[in-house]
């Protein structure tokens, strides 16, 4: 059946081309269309915008799922979404938010900003960049198709086995989780690798490692974490797929398997993952705070050191998610101490931010508002994190709403606030228009208030004995009022998000045009080129003469960067349809496996290999463009 569908679609597709559409003109028209341009682009700036749009889309989906859950929990005994449906909502909410909203939004900003900050014309592997995006996108699509095809996964975003095995989660739900995440995970891994090589190899002359802007540093460390953490997820998902599809016994204890192995593998990936999503937010904070305080970042070297240390320690603490598994007091103690240690580098960061503002001249533009809202919120989340790190106390908190409160303080109050700061900050650079300050402020205040109203009370829910992942709770044990408040708070976040969407639409219609140095306070290289930048970014690769490269020039009285090379024609990579083709192949293959349609899966894999083959013999050398001379009004 599924194979039939796939074949049918394919046949229709070919028929359409061969009967009606097949003539040279048609192809020409397709090729010169805007859509084709976006589908095949390998330009990091456009890929950044694609990531941004997809990430926001999934953020709204995840937010709607959260809203529905909160509605169910508004009162005890509600019957909106009970049992399995609720579990599907909570699984898809967590999975969507982490993998399909937070991660791509981070990649959006990394793509838009990192090459500009290091003075590069593109990333190291433009082709892989595009491939990474399309794999993520089709993986996410596959995951969300589960709602239509037989039910969403319902075993939690952690998908603990036992429950996630066929016997206890029949139906294709968890298969969608496994294959959707596998595909988008490969995309993420490719993206991380690409940024590592970009930052190592593509820096402009003079841009030494200790002159990198902090956002680039965090992008670097985050990419390193992706590189080493995602393989664990890959292996875990592979094993779960084998267990579910091919009858192996990794996790079935009656056949000698062990559910604890899943927990290990998941958290070996999962803990670094939470730092993957917070570190870029730290980087954004550092850039935004120093810009709007009109001051150099306080303690740059220790900031870099702290970033690297957090990344490194992130791999040695995963067992703090498993304190109640019964691994014994020695293991628990060791991992508890390792976990607490992370508070030290994080604290260094927090204090450095505070002292960056100290003595500065703080302007509360929207990005800075988010940054200012971030600090106390994130610190609160970090504090509860340290409280969770104490095993005896964690025996009480674990899997209660206290944990839910903790991770929303760091994920929303940290990552999401950071991302909003970054989006407002770099929007002018990405789109060439300023977002409305007034709507931005409305967005900030409604979201902030709604956020605290929703999640602060949840600490108490946990302490009063409410486990997480429940669709209802008892009456008369002091939980009703708090849940009510918590649900009401969501309204603030919904309204805030709507303000944001209005802001985007409004700006795209009649936004103010942005200058090259959009905020007038730019310190780093991206503010030295027009907004939005030309396709080759830098007409001439700049010569970097210190940390905060643009600021250095400003202080020396220069209006722009000193070029490091003569003006000349610039080589650009050609767009390619292979990434999207390959991703569609993976998508079909994944779908085939899920519906147990081996032929469909085979067709998908054939497409993948065909694309690989095409790529292998692809000797496209790209093309050259002549940059506009910045002296002759090319600039700005």
């Amino acid at each position: 059946m599924p194979t039939l569908i796939v074949l049918l679609v394919l046949a229709l597709f070919l028929a359409a081309i061969f009967t009606g559409g097949y003539n040279k003109q048609f192809f020409e028209r397709v090729r010169s269309s805007r859509t084709w341009d976006w589908l095949t682009t390998v330009d990091h700036k456009k890929i950044g915008i694609l990531y941004l749009m997809a990430g926001l889309f999934f953020f709204i989906i995840g937010g709607i799922e959260a809203t529905l859950m909160r509605l169910q929990l508004f009162a005890p005994g509600n019957e909106l979404f009970v049992g399995r449906t609720f579990n599907e909502l909570l699984t898809m909410h967590g999975t969507t938010m982490i993998f399909l909203a937070a991660m791509p939004l981070i990649f959006a900003i990394m793509n838009a900003v990192v090459p500009l900050q290091i003075g590069a014309r593109d990333v190291a592997f433009p082709f892989l960049n595009s491939l990474g995006f399309w794999l993520f996108f089709f993986g996410g699509l596959l995951l969300n198709l589960s709602w239509i095809f037989g039910g969403a996964p319902d075993a939690g975003w952690t998908s603990y086995t036992g429950l996630a095995l066929n016997e206890y989660s029949p139906g294709p739900g968890v298969d969608f989780y496994v294959l959707g995440l596998q595909i988008s995970g490969i995309g993420t891994l490719i993206g991380g690798l690409n940024f590592l090589v970009t930052i190592i190899n593509m820096r402009a002359p003079g841009m030494t490692f200790l002159r990198l802007p902090l956002f680039t540093w965090t992008a670097f460390v985050t990419s390193g974490l992706i590189l080493f953490a995602f393989p664990a997820l890959t292996v875990a998902l592979l094993m779960l797929m084998f267990d579910r599809l091919f009858g192996s016994n990794f996790f079935d204890y009656t056949m000698g398997g062990s559910t604890v192995i899943w927990e290990h593998l998941f958290w070996i990936f999962g803990h670094p993952e939470v730092y993957i999503v917070i570190l870029p937010a730290f980087g954004i904070m550092s850039d935004v705070i120093s810009t709007f305080s009109k001051k150099r970042l306080f303690g740059y070297n220790s900031m870099v050191f702290a970033t690297v240390l957090i990344g490194f320690l992130g791999f040695m603490v995963w067992v703090h998610h498993m304190f109640t598994v019964g691994l014994g007091p020695i293991t628990n103690s060791v991992f508890a101490v390792a976990t607490m240690a992370i508070a030290v580098p994080t604290g260094i960061k927090v204090f450095n931010w505070l002292f960056t503002m100290w003595g500065g001249e703080i302007q509360f533009k929207t990005p800075m508002l988010w940054a200012v809202g971030f600090i106390p919120t994130f610190v609160l989340g970090g504090m509860t994190g340290v409280m969770l790190a104490l095993p005896p106390a964690d025996y009480q908190y674990q899997d209660s709403y206290f944990v839910v409160a903790h991770f929303h303080y760091v994920l929303v109050g940290g990552t999401v606030f950071g991302l909003f700061a970054g989006i407002y900050y770099w929007w002018p650079k990405m789109f060439g228009q300023m977002l409305s300050e007034r709507l931005g402020k409305w967005h900030f205040w409604t979201f902030l208030i709604g956020f605290h109203l929703t999640f602060f009370p949840q600490h108490f829910l946990g302490l009063f004995g409410m486990p997480r992942r429940v669709f209802t709770y008892q009456t008369n044990v002091g939980l009703e009022r708090i849940n009510e408040i918590s649900t009401i708070g969501v309204a603030g976040m919904v309204i805030g998000t709507i303000f944001f969407l209005i802001n985007i639409v409004y700006t795209l219609r009649k936004g103010k045009k942005a200058e090259a140095d959009a905020w007038g306070l730019g310190r780093t290289l991206e503010w030295s080129i027009p907004s939005p930048p030309p396709e080759y970014n830098f007409a001439q690769t700049p010569l970097v003469r210190g940390f905060d490269a643009l600021w250095v020039e400003k202080e020396a009285g220069n209006k722009s960067m000193t070029p490091s090379e003569p003006l000349g024609s610039i080589h650009m990579p050609s767009p390619s349809y292979i990434p999207i083709l390959m991703s569609i192949g993976f998508f079909i293959a994944g779908f085939g496996f899920i519906v147990r349609g081996i032929p469909a899966a085979a067709i998908g894999l054939v497409v993948v290999f065909a694309a690989l083959f095409l790529r292998s013999f692809d000797y496209d050398h790209g093309y050259h463009v002549e940059p506009e001379d910045p002296e002759k009004g090319g600039k700005e």
């Binding site: 014309r121 593109d122 190291a124 592997f125 891994l189 690798l193 690409n194 590592l196 090589v197 190592i200 190899n201 590189l227 080493f228 953490a229 995602f230 393989p231 664990a232 890959t234 292996v235 875990a236 592979l238 094993m239 084998f242 267990d243 091919f246 009858g247 192996s248 016994n249 990794f250 079935d252 056949m255 000698g256 398997g257 062990s258 192995i261 290990h264 593998l265 070996i268 610039i570 080589h571 990579p573 083959f613 292998s616 013999f617 000797y619 050398h621 790209g622």
Partner: protein, 205 residues
């Protein structure tokens, strides 16, 4: 910018890193190998944790045949050497020499694969299958993933030989050939751990 060759006109003596693309490729590939290391570590960890869960099936002691493994090891180790010799020929711009060594590498790799398939068939016959127990699952997952890497490596090297013959040793083919050779050595490194931690340890107990 991506394809600029070295500013000096004379050919550099390490072709694989003579261009930006080449440099990026080699670095990117090393990073990829770093990720693969973690991937295999997870498979090893799982295998070692589950290797005594053979239920009614044969145990490691009963199952493994060291003679076969020794032969496979010798084949793969030798292929690692021939692969590096091919790279030396490549940097001497000796297409014929390079292709010869690569073909030898391929033959050794294929022989290894044949041995492995034979071994698997034998085990399945003994009642040790992917589905018979957690030991079986983790064993085939680990050794099978390695085998899949070998298979992929063989196909990859074949396409690269074809390209090298068509286009010669250039700054474009050289990085590809070079990273495929890195890949091949890496497979060998993984095998060193497989024969140590799976087969030899399985005999020791």
């Amino acid at each position: 910018m991506a394809n600029q060759t070295n500013s000096s006109t004379e050919m550099p003596n390490h072709l694989e890193t003579a261009t930006f693309d080449g440099k990026n490729k080699v670095l990117g590939f090393w990073l990829f190998l770093g990720a693969e290391t973690v991937l295999f570590a997870c498979l090893f960890g799982t295998y070692l944790a589950l290797r005594n869960q053979s239920l009614e099936g044969p145990t490691t002691q009963e199952l493994f045949d060291l003679k076969l493994v020794a032969l496979a090891t010798a084949l793969l180790l030798t292929s690692s050497l021939t692969s590096v010799l091919a790279m030396i020929k490549m940097n001497e711009r000796n297409l014929k020499g390079m292709v010869t060594w690569l073909v030898i590498t391929l033959v050794l790799g294929l022989a290894f694969l044949v041995l492995e398939i034979y071994e698997f068939l034998h085990y399945i016959h003994e009642g040790h299958t992917f589905m018979s127990s957690a030991f079986g699952s983790s064993f085939y997952a680990l050794v099978g993933t390695h085998g899949a890497h070998v298979t992929f490596g063989i196909i990859w090297i074949i396409t690269l030989i074809a390209q090298a013959i068509r286009r010669g040793i250039t700054t474009e083919t050289a990085p590809k050939l070079f990273v495929s050779s890195l890949y091949w050595h890496f497979i060998d490194v993984v095998w060193v751990f497989i024969f140590t931690l799976v087969y030899l340890l399985g005999k020791v107990g």
